[in-house]
Subunit: 255 residues, 6 copies
């Protein structure tokens, strides 16, 4: 589908594209920091699917809005606690990650501040730029008593090392941008005002390459990620779902 | 089996458990630094099996005793040099690692000093705390002319990187705790007196999570380790065994 | 085959072997810095095959000549732009890497200066020593509009981390030796004059181990690399080939 | 999307759904036997995507129209012979198979006659019913000099056995329905008039199961197929593409 | 542990061992046909563990008692419908299969009649003998609305072919022994009176081989089964558990 | 290398090539039935390597001489019973199978009679024709007390099914050609006099295809076999070697 067909369809993503095909995707809630909820979860399945289906997108920049990339989650639109309610989360959770990987052009994450959930979206990008205020954490899962099974369980140990990754998730560790750079999940740290300009500079450079080249380079560079995501995310989400059912049950009994 | 059933069965491991289910496993020989030999090898198969089978264990802390975690190996109880003698080592070696992975609750290693053999036990833990005196090395294998094939061959390159891991094993490199932290196999360095307190603090925090959550989080975080251990340790140990037979033969001829 | 049978057969590799079986392989063009072209590509398939087939090689040192390891590529002898021409590159590209892995003794890379192409040869070595002037880059692929699909796409993300590896290739980043050491692809940095002496020192030490031990240790340490290379390089090279055909076509139309 | 939103969108697929959620998909060209071409290839990506996205589909029956399931291919809408033209086929070819696997409900193939191309669509179904006139063959690939790389290379050896599968493809063997049943790719042979009634009978029975049960059963039964398709189809299609470029080149020179 | 230590510990398995080390395991309930329930599920984890740990077992024969191998399941001792109740099934279900594979000597199944549940135990045996009355079916899963996720989902498609295996499970197909032999899951069909004699004959022959040979042959022949079980059973069981929770919930609402 | 360079180098293989590039490889001992020994084992590594390296070979036919394909093994040239002696077998065993898979053109086995050892060579061919006198068996391994670990342990269960394959090896079952055809390892049974003519007919037909097409089709059809061989044969051979050492030791003590 052409950009015009989907550009205005997503309430939580502002899409703009340069002449050379660099698509900028800014996540937001009413033009401010994104608040993640069940509706954005559903919407992002489709968002990444459309981006991946449009061959006129030559490079993609993923960014946030305001002072954080993604920091708060709100229960609206989620039903974590019944099997069928959770099934929707399971379906969407699997599809979001595969749909990001189906965007077969270089992806640049331009992280404008804290990332306290769904950091796995960023780890699937090929290039990660961040501001000094950026902090990584996997906060809501264990805080709500849920298994961190939506892909963070696979990608963090894969990318920062198995022992570091397991510690990060189990202790809800906060990683400042400098540490994140030392550990290889951030490539460059830039002042807020230079974040998008630098992302665009890299993107425009990549957009000068022949289209098959950028396309196949993304494929050649993400083959392993596809496999580990496809193999492991369904299982992780199923375990997360059972833990949610258990939490729900405990709550029902609580009073 | 309940803790009472196995608590006093292991000559080389002191087991204590907090009210909330944090099991502390302190390896030792007569209350001092553990001396690894054929009997401990056999015993640890069973030790980790029992720990993993007892669902009342909510978090496990693995530590040593005295000034080292594991530093010396003694030939007693091992028969490395006949096919059937080595077969016992092969069987036990495979089982120890799978039994550690079958402990499906968070595991914290609290390293109280040098680790010069069986460092792979530690790399299978989810959180690694160490003292400043901790040093990692894979010493006895090449020293005795044996292939380092018992799992270190898989886990070190996996966790510190392929080139670093191969160098570490081939040169019998010593990694001080600071380097180990830089390379992502130690999460925190603590003075000796704070090692266990900190391990317990983290453990007790994890023990407040719902039991299915900690259980499934361990599963979700170790899926890849299970696969690479199950695929690779049998082969590594078989090659180590052939190298042992060759060394034995050379020795027979020597004089 | 005995060394004498292949020692003088390779125009671009000087081979010498110590009494204890340490084979030194110095790549060169007329005794100077190697210029990579289609003939060296073809020749290296055979070179690594012979080295791997000769069981008298106990340890292998791979080095360059002059002020760079490998810096320039010259189109001579390559036909990147027809399907059958590219097929030769595809065949050879797959074999070179598997033939390096079929050298089942410890391999030490002694990097004497910049490596701007075929850095994957080095990443398959077990120990990597480098001079301060060493710089890593994957330059010619994207410069010529080609997919970096010859193995660098697999090995860089594997060894320095997925996000770092993808950035490195997509931005043609230059990694000075210090960064390379920090990121785990160089084990030691040595002044030019000490590079080969140190490589030989390590090699001679390894050569004192029993032959089956060094042989099986290499096998035990490279099992994973074999799998990821065997699975991924053919596909990467096929994609690179299609990108080459596209570049060729664009060029034909250009004027 | 609800059925009404996509039911009439596909020129080559008639969609009807029973009250209980059994979706019947009849492929056709103007109400007659389907003639496969570049437009159907493009269309089927979307067709299977929509079916998989609509959670009201509880079971899917895939069938053909007239006396054959799929027998002829027509070059219209395909550009096999330029890199960018082929790239479209490569993209679509990968997506079609993954989109079929993303239909996470039981799929029943009701084969109404010969299948001489794209038999892999059928092998991804869970239940296969066929008429006595059904014949399986992989005809157009080698007939046109192209590598059979679109998934048949993976699925036939997987399902009928490696030696049988390779022979089948290399010799363009014709498998009558009885042999297909003996070899395990057809479950039941039925007279033409009973084909759809039987498919519906099984489908309606499955539709009485709880929706999560049929959903997760499909997932549990196709995990391996997802992996082998995801790993192998891109590579197979890339090789097919290079063979197409070679054929094109040979043809250009022919006269 | 020596046989004497566990021989009389299992209420539902009669164990006898010949002088040469052939262990016969006859499953039963009070000396009659086994009735599977939550207690047998728990017991079998331990049963197979003990058998696998006793190196004096040289070959194992697994059989049933009376006119069926395993035909009926009874809810006693199972709590399928709460997360924590199901967790016990999930833990045990994973362990039973791995414990069977940890029996690293040849296993012979001597099937004395219908197998309508847990047929996966048999498929993990190396040799399968059956009586003419033997019938295979996976009955209780879909009958109770549960996902067949305990390993049958992996092993049936693996062994009888993907399309056959999926049909078998989805339609609760009954496979008579002759079909089972044609499809490669039964090696020999024998009259009831000759079943055990023939099993013993083969077993005693195998027991004459050197112990390392039978041990390593089992390992070499089951490497792939270990991997697919370890990778897939946890996920299958997690999905089955969610389907159970959904069934429970539907039941709660029913009246 | 050109055919002339290696055609007369192999004492146990007669090589002839048709104009169209169909290479016929007839294994023999002095022009009669091949007797397998340590020298042929060594020689075949090289034989298959040369065949695979010569791009003028367009299709390969592998056959035997006289009344059997391979029936007897003779200890000459083998040292199964010392670690270093066995190491040679281990090295060669691994290389032979990978070298067969490195023959990247269609391979046709024309089986002229019993195959009682090294049947795995045949299972790596794409098309298998056999005479009525052909019988398959894996005889010498268990007969000599050795683990059948040279690849038969992987390929038989893969191709005829896991239960059938394990039974076949453990009981040294004899498979007549008809059963072999039923089980999918023989494609056609032909009278002795028509065996080679039919092989040549198929081969010549394949040789009319464009060279890249046959080349890439072989690659696309054997990707999975490469992986399972590369992963499993080293381990299987290591286990076989330990069993050989054990047999040797038992023999040393025997008198």
């Amino acid at each position: 589908m052409k950009l015009a067909g989907y550009q205005d369809r997503f309430e939580n993503a502002r899409l703009t594209r340069s002449k050379s095909g660099v698509l900028e995707v800014a996540l937001h809630t009413n033009g401010e920091i994104l608040v993640f909820n069940g509706h954005t979860h559903e919407q992002f399945v489709d968002l990444f699917h459309e981006i991946g289906s449009d061959t006129e997108n030559r490079v993609v920049i993923l960014t946030g809005t305001g002072s954080a990339f993604m920091e708060t989650i709100c229960p609206e639109g989620f039903d974590f606690f019944t099997p069928r309610g959770y099934d929707k989360i399971y379906r969407e959770g699997k599809k979001i990650l595969m749909n990001i990987l189906d965007i077969e052009v270089p992806m640049i994450a331009a992280i404008n501040g804290p990332v306290r959930l769904h950091s796995e979206y960023i780890l699937l990008c090929d290039i990660v730029l961040a501001t000094p205020t950026t902090v990584f954490q996997d906060k809501p899962h264990l805080e709500s008593g849920l298994v961190p099974g939506d892909g963070v369980n696979i990608l963090w140990p894969e990318i920062i090392g198995s022992v570091r990754g397991r510690y990060f998730l189990l202790t809800r560790q906060e990683l400042p941008s400098e540490t994140a750079k030392d550990w290889g999940i951030v490539n460059e740290i830039l002042p807020a005002g230079k974040l998008l300009p630098r992302a665009r500079e890299i993107a425009e450079q990549l957009a000068t390459l022949p289209p098959l080249t950028t396309h196949y380079t993304r494929v050649a560079l993400t083959q392993k990620l596809r496999r580990i995501i496809d193999e492991g995310v369904g299982y992780g989400l199923a375990l997360e779902g059972i833990s949610a059912a258990d939490v729900a049950r405990a709550n029902r009994k609580d009073p």
